[in-house]
């Protein structure tokens, strides 16, 4: 599972943990987030802007 980071503010979406506040359950792949997903913290970077930062086995 991977994590994806907003290049503007550093918000990190962990596929392992999901984001309970935003309603994304643990183990929700980043690819399954809505197409119109924007960074929950800064709202100025779109889904395709996020950078994959960790690749775990």
């Amino acid at each position: 599972m991977s994590s994806f980071r907003c290049p503007e503010c550093g918000y990190t979406y962990s596929e392992e943990l999901g984001d309970s506040r935003e309603g994304y359950a643990p183990a929700t792949p980043f690819a399954e987030l809505p197409d119109d997903f924007v960074c929950p913290d800064c709202s100025v970077r779109y889904k395709e802007d996020f950078e994959q930062i960790v690749e775990q086995t």
Binding site: E8, C9, G23, Y24, C42, V44, R45
Partner: protein, 403 residues
């Protein structure tokens, strides 16, 4: 004196002193101006003194902006992390939260116990509202941060002007959609502030509710529950304002209606001048380009920035929404308002004057290059504006669409 030091990549040492450090206290005390009017009324017995804050905002502030001028200095980027971690600055934003409650409660008490003339009563309600409108500014600074404390303080202070949905609306809606035709909080060329208010106030509330309902549905949580972050803030509003009515009588209903409306009007005024006519381009993927510094109007005027937690350095704020107020930068070659916000509000309140001054500035921006097709235009004025400037509307000729 606090000195920040850092080492540059070339090994050179730099030091920086924030000359505005103590002047930011003005942002803490400015919302208390209703109390200044009350003090002078108490000392003189003249009810007209209650209106003093109107003069402070609309005569003194533009005059001081004109006299003191602009400040284009930026802290060196190398010391910004230290500046951000200096908790003094955030303590100021914490300190102003209870002061907003104090200002409203004291103004309500004074209005209901002093046998005021109708105009003094209404004037005090409006001035208290203007002070609480600054609470939206305080909530704005706090609500953009990641810490739970700051976010909770934002929700608490937004309860004073009864604008608890702002935190969600602004952060998740306005910042996403800014300077696009669909944003109710971005004003359009040819749209007066009065027409804008009728679109912005209900539109912002609707968008906030949609965003929060979507989040709660994803979580599987009930809309009418404590988890609803809009309801959290409005619950505090209900306790506060019902308590004022119970304590000071039914006349408080009129007082609070005026107060709430003029608090919202402060935000409407700010939103109106911050993005007038500016338009983000549509990219090949059909999405709008990311928000750039040239998608906001700015002012570097010293005084009004000092009483508004640097809100007028708006380009840097929209490009980097989490950046703390003490670190916001002047950026060269971005749209500049003719005055600080308070002077700009006065222009906006007289639409023909606003259009005369701002339309020329708007069309003169490098990203617009005099082409109305690069402007966010009021659809009702679109045909007449293109005709007036003798230009061809590409939306008409190509059937251009918006995402």
């Amino acid at each position: 004196m606090t000195v920040y030091t850092a080492t540059l990549q070339n090994g050179a040492e730099i030091s920086y002193v924030d000359r505005k450090r103590w002047l930011w206290l003005l942002s803490v005390t400015y919302p208390l101006q209703a109390l200044l009017g009350i003090l002078f009324h108490h000392l003189s017995g003249q009810q007209a003194w209650l209106l003093l804050p109107l003069a402070l905002s609309y005569i003194l502030a533009p005059t001081l902006d004109w006299i003191l001028g602009e400040d284009r200095n930026n802290p060196p980027e190398e010391v910004v992390p230290q500046l951000n971690e200096d908790h003094y600055y955030r303590y100021l934003t914490y300190a102003v939260v209870p002061l907003h409650f104090v200002a409203l409660i004291v103004a309500a008490w004074w209005a209901s116990t002093q046998n005021l003339n109708w105009w003094a009563y209404c004037g005090l309600a409006i001035i208290a509202g203007m002070g609480s409108g600054l609470g939206i500014n305080t909530g704005h600074e706090l609500g953009h941060k990641k810490s739970r404390l700051e976010r909770n303080l934002a929700k608490i202070v937004l309860a004073v002007p009864a604008y608890g949905h702002f935190w969600i609306e602004h952060n998740r809606g306005h910042h996403r959609d800014v300077s696009t035709p669909s944003d109710p909080a971005s004003s359009r060329m040819g749209e007066s502030i009065y027409k804008f208010a009728l679109r912005e106030i209900p539109g912002a509330f609707k968008r906030a509710c949609e965003i929060e309902v979507e989040r709660l549905n994803r979580k599987g949580s009930a809309i009418w529950s404590y988890e609803n972050e809009i309801l959290q803030s409005f619950a505090i509003t209900a306790v506060l304002q019902i308590s004022l009515i119970l304590a000071f009588g039914w006349q408080m209903i009129v007082f609070l209606m005026l107060h709430n409306f003029f608090a919202w009007w402060q935000l409407t005024s700010a939103n109106y001048v911050e993005h007038y006519g500016l338009l983000r381009r549509i990219l090949e993927d059909g999405k709008f380009e990311r928000c750039q510094p040239h998608h906001s109007w700015n002012s570097n005027h010293i005084y009004s920035n000092l009483v508004l937690f640097h809100l007028e350095r708006h380009s840097d704020h929209h490009a980097h929404p989490l950046r703390r107020y003490q670190s916001l930068r002047h950026i060269d070659d971005v749209p500049q308002l003719p005055s600080g916000y308070f002077g700009s509000y006065l222009l906006a309140y007289v639409p023909p004057l606003w259009f005369k001054i701002m339309d020329k500035r708007l069309l003169g921006l490098s990203q617009v290059a005099g082409d109305l097709n690069n402007v966010n235009i009021d659809p009702d004025r679109r045909r007449s504006l293109f005709a007036r400037y003798g230009q061809t509307d590409l939306q008409q000729t190509t059937g251009g669409s918006q995402p």
